[in-house]
């Protein structure tokens, strides 16, 4: 399937106090393009969780959004520490977030489960010491 549009965002790893900017921008773009509100909500929430994870667990990364009329694909790629046990990380409540991050309201261990729940397809490729790439697919209908 051909992607009509591609948006790229550098996700800054240093600034977890104001992370989430890429997701907020994507939400605005999708709204301008007239995608259905429910789809926009699912995409922006799932992308936000992935964006925040890159900031707090991997010192930042790249977010790419590919749009076609049928499908929205979000690819979150970082060169952080990787996830040793993906199945464990996907469980609700599992978190390795440090205390200073928890005090900002993160660390419930709900981010990856939310990404799974809000997307139609989710693939996690992760290698310890190399990085993590998460692909989220959302069907427009």
């Amino acid at each position: 399937m051909e992607d009509l549009l591609h948006y790229h965002y550098d996700v800054d790893g240093g600034n977890f106090a104001s992370a989430g900017e890429a997701s907020v921008q994507v939400k605005r773009v999708l709204r301008q393009m007239g995608f259905p509100p429910d789809l926009i909500r699912r995409v922006s929430i799932a992308m936000y969780e992935g964006e925040i994870n890159m900031v707090i667990h991997a010192k930042g990364g790249d977010a790419d959004v590919y749009l076609s009329p049928e499908q929205i694909r979000v690819v979150l790629k970082d060169v952080g520490p990787g996830i040793k046990d993906v199945a464990l990380a996907m469980q609700e409540g599992y978190s390795t977030a440090p205390d200073n991050i928890r005090s900002l309201g993160f660390g419930a261990g709900m981010g990856l489960p939310n990404m799974k729940r809000y997307s139609d397809e989710m693939t996690v490729e992760s290698t310890v010491g190399v990085g993590t790439t998460i692909t989220l697919v959302f069907n427009a209908f």
């Binding site: 106090a17 989430g20 907020v24 909500r41 936000y48 900002l104 309201g105 419930a108 939310n114 729940r117």
Partner: protein, 109 residues
């Protein structure tokens, strides 16, 4: 009820009313942001004691009707400025979260 109705009924202090015609269709109380992301709904009145910038991103992405800071929490200027940029209604109260939720529940009957 609208956000304007809420402010009037509750006596809670508006910090920023970007659009007080927003309809409140439900409520959610929580401080763990991805919990809120997973459970909060469009149109909710969101009660929280979290007051950092990430609250604004979550409020914006969920499109809640308003954020109510409870238990005497006061957000700083950067948070209010971000809310202004994204048209988020912000309210505060000294009331405990539970009491505030109970009152909203009564008005929403």
């Amino acid at each position: 009820m609208t956000v304007a109705d809420l402010v009037q009924q509750s006596g809670w202090s508006p910090i920023l009313l970007a659009d007080d015609t927003r309809e409140i269709t439900g409520g959610y109380a929580g401080d763990l942001l991805s919990w809120v992301m997973g459970r909060g709904q469009y149109g909710d009145c969101w009660f929280t004691i979290m007051s950092n910038l990430n609250v604004i991103a979550v409020a914006q992405l969920l499109d809640v009707a308003c954020v109510v800071f409870t238990e005497g929490v006061v957000p700083d200027a950067a948070v209010v400025n971000a809310a202004r940029l994204h048209d988020i209604n912000l309210i505060r109260t000294d009331e405990p979260t539970y009491a505030a939720c109970v009152r909203l529940g009564g008005w929403m009957q």
